[in-house]
Symmetry: C2
Subunit: 508 residues, 2 copies
Amino acid sequence: MSEVYSMDPRTGLTMEMVAEDSDAREVARVCAAAAEAAVGLDRMGAAGRATLLEAVARELESDGALLVRTADRETALGAERLSGELARTCGQLRFFADVLREGSYADAVIDRAAAADDTGPGRPDMRRMLLPLGPVAVFGSSNFPLAFSVAGGDTASALAAGCPVVVKAHPSHPATSLVAFRAVTRAVAACGAPVGTVGIVWGFDAGRTLVLDPRIKAVGFTGSLSGGRHLHRLATSRPEPIPFHGELSSLNPVFVTPGAARERAEAVGRGFVQSFSFGHGQVCTKPGLLLVPAGADGAALREEVARAVAELAPSWLLNDGIRSMFRQGVERLSTLPGVRPAAAGRPAGDDERLVGAALVSVDAKELLHGAAPLMEECFGPFAVLAEYHDTTELEEAAEALAGQLSCAVHATDDDHELAGRLLDRLTRSCGRIVWNGFTTGVAVGWATHHGGPYPATTSPEHTSVGAASIGRFLRPVCYQSVPDALLPPQLRDANPLELPRRVDGVRC
Amino acid sequence: MSEVYSMDPRTGLTMEMVAEDSDAREVARVCAAAAEAAVGLDRMGAAGRATLLEAVARELESDGALLVRTADRETALGAERLSGELARTCGQLRFFADVLREGSYADAVIDRAAAADDTGPGRPDMRRMLLPLGPVAVFGSSNFPLAFSVAGGDTASALAAGCPVVVKAHPSHPATSLVAFRAVTRAVAACGAPVGTVGIVWGFDAGRTLVLDPRIKAVGFTGSLSGGRHLHRLATSRPEPIPFHGELSSLNPVFVTPGAARERAEAVGRGFVQSFSFGHGQVCTKPGLLLVPAGADGAALREEVARAVAELAPSWLLNDGIRSMFRQGVERLSTLPGVRPAAAGRPAGDDERLVGAALVSVDAKELLHGAAPLMEECFGPFAVLAEYHDTTELEEAAEALAGQLSCAVHATDDDHELAGRLLDRLTRSCGRIVWNGFTTGVAVGWATHHGGPYPATTSPEHTSVGAASIGRFLRPVCYQSVPDALLPPQLRDANPLELPRRVDGVRC
C-alpha cells in the first residue's frame, strides 16, 4: 500500500504523509457507510439538509486560516485567490441551503384524477417529485482545492439532493482535503446527520474501485479529458451503468469585433491577459484563444496583449505532471505550421519549477487547417492570438468550435448585426456566452450554467454550478392513486411544506 | 444490400418489400439533412412546433384506418388495442403542443445584475434557458408500433424540444413505420418545417451507424436489455460521447397484503391477469410477479388468478425472435429449483405460431435464492405467483428489487402501516408506484414518470413519457450581460412571449 504525501510545488519538497492509499476493502467500507446513510439523510428533509450545509460552511470558515495556508502550500495559488475561493465555497453551500428552503428543486407535480369525457380519456391521480439518486462519487479537481473538491460544488449539490458523498481526494492537495474533510465531518456530527454522509478515499486505484462500487449511483468529476473519458467508460460498462457527470475541457474563446478592438484596445487587452493568467492559467474557464482583427484595426489590441503578457510574473504550476504537460503542450503547439511566438511572460530564471506565460499568434484561417490543435485546451498560462482578415473568418471560427463551457464576445453598439450572427453560432456550442467581459469567474445563482456539449462535459443537459446542478443527483418517482396519508408531505393535498408545485398543469 | 419485408406473425408469411437496408451513405445523407434542419426547426419557435405536432396528429388520424390495419397485420395486436394506441399517440402529440404553449419547459431564469454589498459579492446579469440539443436518433420499439415508434413519444418530445429526428424503424413493423413516416412527412411539408426534420433509416447495421454519426447528439431507445446496453456503450465510446436514453427492462411486481387478498381476491386476481396479458404480455409495464399470501389468506386470490389464466386465449407474439426467446425463457424459468407450474392458458393446438400463457408459482423466499432469475423480466404472457409466509418476506422482496419502471401495492385501509413500509422500500427502486391498481397503461400528463434506475432505464434522472420527457433533448445556455436586443425573446426584460420564468430567484 502506498502512502499519500503532501507536496510543495514551489520547492518540490515532499512534506508530511497525509493518508494511505485506500485499498479495495477500505473503498467498500466507505461506500457501505454511504449507502447506510442514504435513508437517514433523506429523512432529514430539505430543511434538515439546509442546516447541514450551513454548518459545513461555518466549520470551513472556522478552519479558514488553516485551509488557506495549507492549500497555498500545496497549490502555490496564493492566499488572496484561495481566500476568495473559500468565500465562494461557503457562499455556495449557503446558496444550496436557500435552494432547499425555496423548495421548487423537488419539482412536485400533481395531476388529479379526472373522469373520461369528450375532452379526453380520463386519468388516475398521479403525483410526482424528485428524490435522491443514492450515494455519489465526487472526484475533487486539482485546480480548485476548495470550491471543486471535498466540500465543493459537486458535494454541496449532492448533499442538497439528499445523496451521501464519497470524495476521491485529488493527489495535488491531500492535506487541504483532509482539513476540509474533518470540517465536514464535524458539521455532520453536529447536525446529527448519519455517520456515512460524507466519506473520503485516497489514491488512483481507489478512484477506479469507487466508480465500480455497486452502491455508487452517480459520479461527479472535474478533471482532464483523458481521465474523464476513462472513468466515463468505466461508469457505463458497470453491471449497473450509472450517470457520469464529467466537466473536462474547454478553450473558452474570446471574439473581438473590429469596432471593439479599435475603441477598447487597452481594456480588452488587459482584461484578456488578466483573465487567461488567473490561477496561472489553470482554470476551466481560462480564455485560451483571442480572435482579433489583423492589420490596423487590431494593432493596438495586439500590442496591448503582448505588453500585458510580458509583465506576467513566472509562476509555479499545481504539480509536476501539470508542469510537464504544459511544457510539452507549448512546445508542440508553438511549432505548428503558421504559428509565431507573440509574447512571453517574465523569464523564469534558474528555477526549473517556475514557468513563464506564453502567447503565440496565428492567422485565424489556420485554426481551421494546420493549426487546428490550437482550438483545444492547453492547461496553464498559454494563449493564442488569432488574427482574422475579415469578419467571415471570425464567424467561421465560431462555427468550427467544439463544445465549450463558455466564450466571450467583445463588440460595440454599432456591431449588433455581426454580434447577433456570432451569438447565433456560439449558442450552438457554448454553455455560457459573456458579453464585453471575460469567462473566468462563474457566479453561483439560479441562472448559472456551467456546462456544455462534449468535450466541455459528458452530460450536456446538466450544469455543475448553480441551482440546477442539484438535478444531476435526483430522480423522479410518481405515486399513482396513493392515499393522501401515505404520500410524502411534498405531495399531500394540504401542501404542509408550502412548496411551489404544479397542480393540474398550473404552477402554484 | 438486403431488403426489408413486412412479415405477418399470424401466418409467418413474408408480405411486401417495404424498403432496403440503409447503407452507410444513406444514413449519412439522412443525418446531414437532420443537421441541416436543426436551425430552421429551432427558428419555428415553440408556437410553430406546436402547430407541427398537431399537424402530425391530424395526418396520422387521416391515415388511421390504414395504420391500424397495417399494424395489426404486422404485430397481431388486434384492431382494438391498436386503435387505442393510435388515439394515445395523437393525444401525446397534442399534449406536447400544450406543453410548448405553456412555455415553462424552456426553464427561463433571469438573475439581474447586483452590486457587491454586505450580503454578497455582487453578480453580473445572467439569463439562462434551454435550447435543443441537436439531431436525435430514435429507435422504434417492437411492441408499440405507433406510440413508441416513428411518431411516438421519443419523436414527439424531441420535435417539441426543437430537435430533428432520425428514426431507426423496427423490423417488426416496417410497413406501419412507412405509413406513419409518410404521414409525418406530409405534416412537415404542410407546416413549412425543414425537409430533414424527420428522417428514417432501415436495418440493424444502420442503427449502429446512426448512433455513431457525429451529427447525432442524443439517442432515445425503447427495446431489449442486450440491445440497449450494446448501443449505450457505443454512444459512450464515440469520439464525442452522447446521452443515451434507453428504456430497457422491468418486472413491475405487484404486492398484495393479506387484507387485500382476503377482501378483494376476485378483483385483484382478475385485474392482475388482465394486466399481465395485455398486448399478449408484451408491454414494458407488464406485471410479471404477483406476491400473494401463502395459506388461507391467499387461497381465493391464487385460485382466481389460476382460473383467469386458464381462460386466456393463445396468442401470436410480435415476431419469430420474440416467440423463440419467450419459449426458451419459460422453459428455463419453470425448471428452476422450487418453481411449480401453477396455471396455463388455453392450449395453442396445432398452430406452432401460437403461444399459450403460463403462470408458475414459487415460495417468496426462493426469489432471493435459487429462483432469483424470476425477479427479471420475461417478455410475453408469463407471470410468477410468489407465496409469502409472513409480511417480512414481502418486505424483503421489495428490498431486493432491481430498478423498475413501476410496481403496484394492493392493500386495505387497515394495512397502512405495512403499506407505508412497502412504499418506503419501493420508492428506492421503482419509478412509479400504483396503489390498488395495475401498472399497465401509463397516462400522459405533467406528473407522469416512466423511467427508473437500471435496468429499467440507462438514465434514471429522466422519463420517456410525459411533459418532463422533453428535458432529455434540451441543454441550457446562459447569456451573461448580453444586451436586451440581442437576447432570445424568452429572456428579454419585456417577456414578449409571456413565459413563466424565474426572476431574481422568484417564480413569476
